[in-house]
Symmetry: C2
Subunit: 360 residues, 2 copies
């Protein structure tokens, strides 16, 4: 029997625009089978979390636009578990809102907040690390994160500096450092007490609500007024009226960077945020020419290092291309150098400007 | 009124496999709108010929496979005008067969034999040159060709050597020279009395039938036996039985290279055989980056000299590619260097070997 106090908040409201043209406003990355395994990313994430957490305690935080996609892809989920944001207000407001709903249902809840679109293959070790964190949170007033052992000086991630004097698995956090420059990132790695922030948080509902109360009194008082309405028929009206008044702020900024009781556990599993076509390429199996191919059937000559994705069984003949992203869908074909993958957001903007917003 | 004695035989049985994946066994090049003008190549050719030749006198020589495509694309054409080859036997047998049918219908016929998939934009000058040739053929026992002024030492074409002493527009032909090597082709051009063989022939039906009788007695006697059957209900049975017995031989080899009464008129119009994606690229209008685009809408950066074709209005984002053929259709995507366009036949063979003959 899984612990009835274990809860999850799955963050599923983002778009992942660097995965354009597959990930779009209407059909974001987490709802696609990016790995070609037969499961979408949110399905894989839901399955992974459900090893430790009762399925009925996994809440999906998403946008109204994706309500239907959630029920389609996660048929076991009920309406109670889907928390819709009526407006885009970054992560702090929606996490506070969902936490207050969960607290009303179960004041002893232990919650993991996790993105719905990351790659974690070793589910057993993931469960083990989350279990360790839950055990700690049940005993301590702690805000915890899962830190990822850095493998190179990535300048696109946030870093977590932990107390290097501690020999324990769970360490006190000194500070969060947002996207450093390359030299700083190198120093972080050399120092040995920095981890990547993967946006995975764990805490008791009591601790997180208290942290909001202390650190974000204005935001807290906005959502506190709704406590009598949450999980009742009055909830929708209250949220529709008040949610848009919330400040646009991330949970990192609102809680983690300002609290003293922040702890980190270093993940013992391999992780990838699948943030770009290149990071997806890294995680996929390669063919004999080092091309990563999803859905397509390829005839490649003098072509290697390419990330190729089409609809099922489309034939792709490619000659003389190295390290390209080749993505084909019904009405869009992208042929783009992997080295410029960070510019795909700009490309998307240009496509929307030139051909219409419906293509993003 | 157009001259009732003027006839055309449109050759429409080939496949044009260097235009794969657009041109396929099931749907060859001449039935595609290769230029993005709204008309297919056979429609354009039919319209061009009909400026001089009564529409009902334009015969289409094709394969049974393409019978439906012909009637679909040329709705004015009747069953009488479509001559089906029950077997692939190169150009001589089918031209003899069609000529005997036409001769039975009109012994005074003057015939132009022309490919259905070439590019000729200047229709007025084309008509003028054909008229000159017809006038000559009506007065003389002549086998005529339309020769193209060579613009570079192309080693893929046949060359026609004409009598350089003649000052007339219509000159006697010395010899035909099939695909020369580069040095020889250069010599031909330097000599000044060589033209490209475009596979466009003109003659009276009397002259061509007589030439077959003299030069190809075996072939002639095979088809002569059917004269009573042609243009009657007995024709189909006769052809089904006898056509496969015909020798596999081209009209160039069967008549032109062996006859003494061969003449050429130098075309005064611009011509392109649209033999490859590169030659199509040359004839299309280019965008500001020198990309030739058919049907697609493009966002090209650091991308020039590309030949891009998709279904109507598909968006193509391309970055960092020069001189590529990018062709997308429902189930096949080709990304291939323009410099290797001659290898597309080999690619097609590999695709058929690997994925099945249905893709060719």
């Amino acid at each position: 029997m899984k612990n009835k106090n274990y809860y999850a908040i799955l963050m599923a409201g983002g778009v992942g625009s660097r995965f354009w043209p597959i990930s779009t406003q209407d059909f974001p990355k987490q709802f696609h089978d990016m790995l070609g395994t037969g499961d979408t990313l949110i399905q894989k994430t839901f399955q992974r979390l459900s090893l430790l957490i009762p399925k009925e305690n996994i809440f999906i935080l998403t946008n109204e636009l994706y309500n239907d996609l959630v029920f389609e892809q996660l048929p076991e989920v009920t309406k109670r578990q889907v928390v819709l944001e009526p407006a885009m207000r970054n992560t702090a407001p929606c996490i506070l809102y969902a936490s207050l709903k969960i607290q009303k249902e179960n004041p002893d809840a232990l919650i993991i907040v996790a993105p719905s679109d990351h790659w974690i293959e070793d589910e057993a070790t993931f469960s083990k690390n989350v279990q360790q964190a839950f055990d700690f949170c049940s005993q301590n007033n702690a805000l915890m994160t899962l830190g990822i052992q850095p493998t190179f000086p990535n300048t696109g991630y946030g870093y977590i500096e932990f107390d290097k004097t501690s020999a324990k698995a769970i360490k006190s956090v000194h500070q969060f450092r947002e996207k450093p420059d390359y030299e700083t990132a190198k120093q972080f790695i050399d120092q040995g007490n920095f981890l990547w922030n993967a946006g995975i948080f764990m805490w008791s509902v009591k601790s997180v609500v208290q942290a909001f109360q202390n650190n974000q009194p204005k935001l807290f008082s906005l959502f506190e007024k709704g406590i009598s309405a949450y999980n009742t028929h009055s909830e929708e009206a209250f949220i529709k009226e008040n949610y848009p008044k919330a400040e646009n702020v991330s949970v990192d900024y609102a809680l983690m960077e300002t609290s003293k009781n922040v702890y980190v556990i270093a993940a013992e599993f391999d992780w990838n945020d699948l943030g770009t076509w290149g990071s997806l390429y890294d995680k996929l199996n390669k063919d004999s020419n080092e091309n990563a191919v999803v859905n397509a059937r390829t005839l490649a000559e003098d072509a290697s290092g390419n990330m190729i994705r089409t609809k099922k069984d489309k034939i792709v003949v490619v000659d003389g291309l190295q390290d390209y992203i080749i993505v084909d869908k019904e009405d869009i074909l992208l042929i783009y150098p992997k080295t410029k993958e960070q510019d795909i957001k700009k490309v998307l903007q240009k496509v929307k400007d030139k051909f219409g917003v419906q293509y993003g």
